[in-house]
Structure formats: C-alpha cells, structure tokens
C-alpha cells in the first residue's frame, strides 16, 4: 500500500490550486522523461520508475489531473498535475525485449520534457 493508493480523481483541489492549465503535450508528442534523481537529494516519493529516467517515448493520451503524489506522501498541500499515458519501445530499454514490444506507463507532466529539445540520446 502506498500513499497514492486510495486517492481519487474526485478529490478536491487544495485551496489556492490554480485553474487547470492546458495540457502541455497532445497525443503523439515525443517526450523525454527527466533524467533526475531526487532520491539522491533526500526523502521523497516518486512515481516515475527508475528505468525510464532519461528515456524517450510518445504521449498516448492525457489520463486526467491528479494530486501530486510527491506532496501527498508527506501530507503537504498537493496541487493537481496532468498525468499522461506514455508509450516506450521496450528494447532498447531492456535488452531482453523483442522489437515491437512496448511499455505503457503513467507519468506526470512535470517529469516530461519535449524530446525535440534534446539530443537523440536514446
């Protein structure tokens, strides 16, 4: 059981949460997961798997806006953030994979950057 377990899409925004912004990444956008490791800086609760940090994928669709688990886990006011379903090619992330196989993963907007701005690192 994690702090994210049991949270609901219907949970109300904490006071002061700004009106929902337009989602930054429409379906089909090439995005890169931030190559960031908050785990090295101190206690945190991150829902972005290690194996995807720095990897490039494609936005499949916006799933909705959800309270940021990184704040919820520490009982801080948790503004809602856009959550996307992002598709990754399984190899080259894992050598055991077969070309054509894919990974589909929920990733929050603040963990994504436009891939165009990056060098083709992956």
């Amino acid at each position: 059981m994690t702090p994210a377990e049991g949270t609901s899409a219907a949970a109300s925004d904490p006071p002061g949460d700004p009106a929902p912004a337009q989602p930054r990444f429409p379906p089909g956008t090439r995005v890169q997961v931030r190559d960031d490791w908050p785990e090295r800086r101190g206690p945190c609760h991150i829902r972005t798997p290690h194996y995807l940090r720095g990897r490039t994928g494609t936005v499949q669709r916006l799933l909705g806006r959800f309270a940021n688990p990184e704040d919820l886990a520490f009982a801080r006011p948790a503004p809602k953030r856009a959550l996307y379903h992002v598709l990754f090619e399984q190899p080259p992330i894992w050598d055991e994979g077969r070309p054509g196989d894919e990974l589909l993963v929920e990733i929050f907007e603040h963990w994504l950057e436009p891939a165009e701005a990056m060098k083709e690192a992956v």
Binding site: T2, E5, S8, L63, G64, E96, R98, L103, E106
Partner: protein, 200 residues
Amino acid sequence: MSAPARSDSPARLEALIGALKAKSILTEEELAARQAQTDRASPEIGARMVARAWLDPEWRRRLLSDGSAAAEAMGVSMAGAPPLGVLEDTPQRHHLVVCTLCSCYPRAVLGYPPHWYKSFGFRARSVRDPRGVLAEWGTVLPEGVDIRVVDSTADYRWMVLPLRPDGTEGWSEDQLAAIVTRDALVGVALPKVPPAAAAA
C-alpha cells in the same frame, strides 16, 4: 506493498483505528461498509464485464471508454476508488499489467491481488522480460503478437479485455464469464476453452 505481519500487528491496527475514531476521521460503520465492499470484490466481477463485452458491442464501447462507469453499472461502488481503465487486446497486441513500484491492482473489480503480483520477481521481470514471465505461466502468444506491458505507476488501475477464444460461438454470458480467470484479467494467461467444452 504491504509490510510483513508482526506479532504486534493486531494491537497496532487497533491503536490506529482508535486514533482515527477519536479524531472523527473514521466511524465503525464506515469501516464495516468498506470491509464488506472489499470482501465482495472478486475476479468474478471483472470476468462478467469481459463476457458482456464479448456479447454486446455497445457495452464494449462503454467499458473501454470509461471503466469506472462500467463498474458502477455492474453495481460496484467506485466512490473513493482510483479510476479504472480497460485495455483491449487485439490479434496483434497483448497487454500485461504490472506495478513495478508497489502493487497497484484493480481491486474494485478483481478483489485482493494474488501474492505473486506483489512479488519482487514478477514486478521486476514483467517489464524486463515479459515473454519469459508469460512462458512460466504456459502462456505462449501466437507469432506476430506484440506485447504491451502496462506499468501501473500512478493513479489509474488497469484491467485487460482479452480476446474471445475460438470455440465459444453461441455461448451464454455465464459460460463465457466462467473461462475468464483472474490471471487472464491482468494478462498473464489467456482465456481457454476447456477440452470437454471444445469436444462437445
């Protein structure tokens, strides 16, 4: 992922419940209602949703577009539950559901997750070597079928809508629901027609 049970777990649980009641966060009635709802949930609900989707195209569209609304229509209370998404297998694509970070599982329509779903082995290997994991279940996909591993990392819970197997033409909803197992609903297995039924 739940922590291992300790000898003082019951006392700790009682202390927690007592504190929640003292702070008016939880009542005995709410606790009992939630426990009853959790105990009622079982893979039979998910299997029924799938069987209906195999028979009724309109229900299928509803299930795929809004799994939570479909669950509510089945009499499952989704209030306070994470939203349910349903992933449609096709002749070219098979879905496998895992939660590499903990054990997120569509409890509202499948009940408690099995022990293996929470194991480090299943969680680590499903994203890395999904075909190897499926082979250990005896699940071999036909040539040309790609796997899409769905890592349930955040606020949704995911269930698979598998392909209806050949040999089930003319079957009733009850007959179809009976071959949709818990394992098929997260994609480690495929619905199978029992040999006796196939021969009949």
